[in-house]
């Protein structure tokens, strides 16, 4: 079986400008959403208390809210989590409460409500300091990845490739975060891990194409830069689709079977993979082209032998 029997190179670069305008728009939209709506950060980042309980029968969320409010937790967020029987209670950090006793008080309050007895599934309490540190560490990791990959690409390839790959990757990352901002999905530590994994994954894709570009420059003479890039993308097309298809299969399996805990993690990866293909083919490649990549950068011009004149 073979999906791609492409004889002639597909002229991807002819449409480069159009795609890049689309990219620019989505990129701008992502930035706007992040700026306007902000991220729905999980307790891990903001600090606070999160209690997940499970009931044998669906409880009345309104009762729980009322009971918590009566117990002095008027700022508690109560919502269903996964199913109607699972309830998530979230409380921001407050100075006037003894933080490490909040979860017990919440559990005691929930047990005191008439009706089915809740079973404790999970408690998370994070002090405000820890939250800030985690956010800072996340930022550092992002920076480190960007710098590390640029340095490696600049060393193995050329600065143009490094720059183009970085822009394309940043584009992917921002779009994922944009999605999380737009839908107000919870941005947790595993999601951050997914975002950083996408960064590695997406650059992987870019590298495969760049590798081909470099090889084509070295092997084939007489092609224009645009033709070389078109050729490289077309040749790797099959691999791109299959690899991403495979990864997507696994990630979708995680999305389906992984349950609530892995849900957003898998979702971030899904978005990342889809945009990863797009960005490496249609964002980073045109960028390298515009940065002025050419054959001379890879093939040392042969020096004419100076023959001694007799």
């Amino acid at each position: 079986m073979e999906f791609f029997r492409i004889k002639n190179d597909i002229p991807f670069m002819r449409h480069a400008l159009k795609f890049n305008i689309i990219s620019l728009v989505t990129f701008a939209l992502a930035v706007i959403f992040i700026a306007m709506r902000g991220l729905n950060l999980s307790v891990e980042f903001t600090g606070g208390t999160l209690v997940e309980v499970s009931y044998p029968q669906p409880p009345r969320v309104e009762d729980i809210r009322q009971a918590l409010s009566d117990a002095g937790y008027s700022d508690a967020q109560v919502q269903n989590f996964g199913s109607a029987r699972d309830i998530l209670v979230r409380l921001p950090n407050r100075d006037d409460l003894e933080a490490d006793r909040v979860s017990e008080n919440v559990m005691a309050t929930l047990s005191s409500i008439d009706g089915p007895e809740p079973e404790l599934r999970r408690v998370e309490f994070v002090g405000p300091q820890i939250g800030k540190e985690l956010a800072a560490d996340g930022g550092m990791a992002l920076l480190f990845v960007m710098v590390g990959m640029m340095a490696y690409l600049a060393m193995r390839f050329e600065w143009r490739f490094a720059l183009a790959a970085s822009i394309a990757n940043l584009h992917d990352v921002l779009i994922i975060i944009g999605f999380f901002a737009f839908f107000q999905w919870e941005f947790s530590l595993p999601v951050l891990a997914a975002v950083l994994a996408v960064l590695g994954y997406s650059v992987n894709e870019t590298v495969v194409i760049f590798d081909r570009v470099r090889e084509t420059f070295r092997k084939r003479r007489g092609l224009s830069t645009t033709e070389v890039i078109d050729h490289a993308i077309t040749r790797t097309m099959s691999r791109t689709v299959i690899t991403h298809g495979s990864t997507l299969m696994v990630v979708l399996s995680m999305l389906i079977f992984g349950g609530e805990t892995l849900h957003y993690f898998a979702l971030a990866l899904t978005i990342g993979i889809i945009f990863g293909i797009y960005s490496s083919v249609l964002v980073s490649s045109p960028l390298v082209m515009w940065f002025g990549v050419s054959r001379e950068q890879f093939v040392k011009p042969k020096k004419d032998k100076e023959e001694a004149v007799v």
Binding site: R122, E205, T243, V250, M254
Partner: protein, 612 residues
Amino acid sequence: MNRYPLWKNILICLVLVFGLIYTIPNFYGEVPAVQVSSAKSTVQLDQSLIGRLESELTATDLQHTGVFADENSIRFRFADTEEQLRARDTIDAALNPDPQDPSYIVALNLLPATPNWLTSINALPMYLGLDLRGGVHFLLEVDMAGAITNRLDSTTGDLRTLLRDRRIRHAGVTREGNTIELRFRDTEQREAARRAISSGNSDLELAARDDGENDYKLIASLLPQAAQTIREFAITQNITTLRNRINELGVAEPIIQQQGADRIVVQLPGVQDVAKAKDILGRTATLEVRLVDDSPGAIEDALNGQVPFGTELYTERGGGPLLVKNDVILTGDRLTDAQPGFDSQTNDPAVHLTLDSPGSRIFRDVTRDNVGKRMAILLFEKGRGEVVTAPVIRTEIGGGRVQISGSMSVEEANRIALLLRSGSLAAPMEIIEERTVGPSLGAENISKGFNSVLWGFVAIAVFMTVYYTLFGLVSVIALTANLGLLIALLSLLQATLTLPGIAAMALTIGMAIDANVLINERIREEINNGVTPQAAITAGYERAFGTILDANITTLIAGIALLVFGSGPVRGFAVVHCLGILTSMFSAILVSRMIVNLIYGRRRKIDRLAIG
């Protein structure tokens, strides 16, 4: 051209066998076990106890299937739960003759069922994180500023006593923030004080300051090294105390670790009762100093059941009964440090105690009034007291530095110092992070994670075999090898597997296939270009190699960043991710090539490759 030398084949096979062996322990599951740990910090676990318990078990016709001992516990494995329960009763009866005052905690437990020959080569199952097992996780922060202030407060008292002893007139010694200010009326007294202090105390840095006529000051501050020592002491001391307290919970494999400069991680797998765990972690000082009632005849009366009024009967550790007065002179929170050492005159082993300033004042007064009498140091655990030591007071002891000496060995001195420290925290602590995962959620997380990996793998395997036929099958074998090696590595390193770790495993499968796809696509391409099958295989693997390397190294950079900067779930993800990249490179390049070589390499002439 497509043949590996024999040594290379053997080497790859060896790695695969090695991977298989270290993967196996994960499939054995768990068996019932009985865990014995010490209930008192005075009770030590040692080799002789194992022998004793083994003979007890044989005496009651019980056969254990393995014994494991570490620093904190001894564990016996049993064939079934019935034997486990009987063994628990036998051991409990043998070790704790008085159920009201148990010296050992005997708890039911689960242990990996790994056969002994595997355990002996260190092939153990992966260590499951709390999110997969259920349990409690605490992150505690030690109040270092509090530790320093405590020390400065006690030093302030020391200095005051020192100046008085040397008859140096001063106009006040006070702690101001992180410094101690000593005020003097004239410079001569100040100079005398400076000499006195610097000869006796090497932790302080002294600076003179003149604040006008008749107001001469000496500003004492802690030297950076001294402050550093205090901080390090505070954290190790708190960890020791926590360990002693957590022992009471009888948790199977508690983790108590320092994290960063001033944080302690406590993980209690299997514990669900957060409130109890917190109470035990937060328990306060349990050390008391009281006077011994040595009046003639009193002890005999007490042993006959007539305890004199105002006293209590206790047992001295390793000694006889002792009558102790009810009045508490000092409690453990007055103690700032206890270190083993030697008596400066007799060179006998001794324990040096440091008290804070109110403590040292009380202590001086009491010792002055009771020279020649005995003083008991009691340790209270779970509401029950035991006399650790009861030395005779020889002279008045001032300055907050107390020495306990007498007939003790160096080892004993070490142990008493540890005991005295074990009751109290060196600095207050605060819980800054807490996670509880219920056991049902843990089991659910495992099955969900496992299913994601399984179905992801199946989907890829089916697709690869259909799309690339024989070469696809080879890729699937390589992928299986990859998964096996990854699990083997994780087991060998005893890295903790968490839910994000399982997610990383799934992702690794998805990404690992990339290398195989790159190779297979290259081979197809070469064939389409009209190259012979044998040459196509060689070219395919060789051409793809550079790309695979570049692609994986960039991914590895991201993985390492996660490892360095991540914490908690991110780190759990990163460990598996990084290892997965390494194993997938090995299996995609070497394992798959070996198989392809074995299939095609021997044949001289091949018409076509089965690559779909």
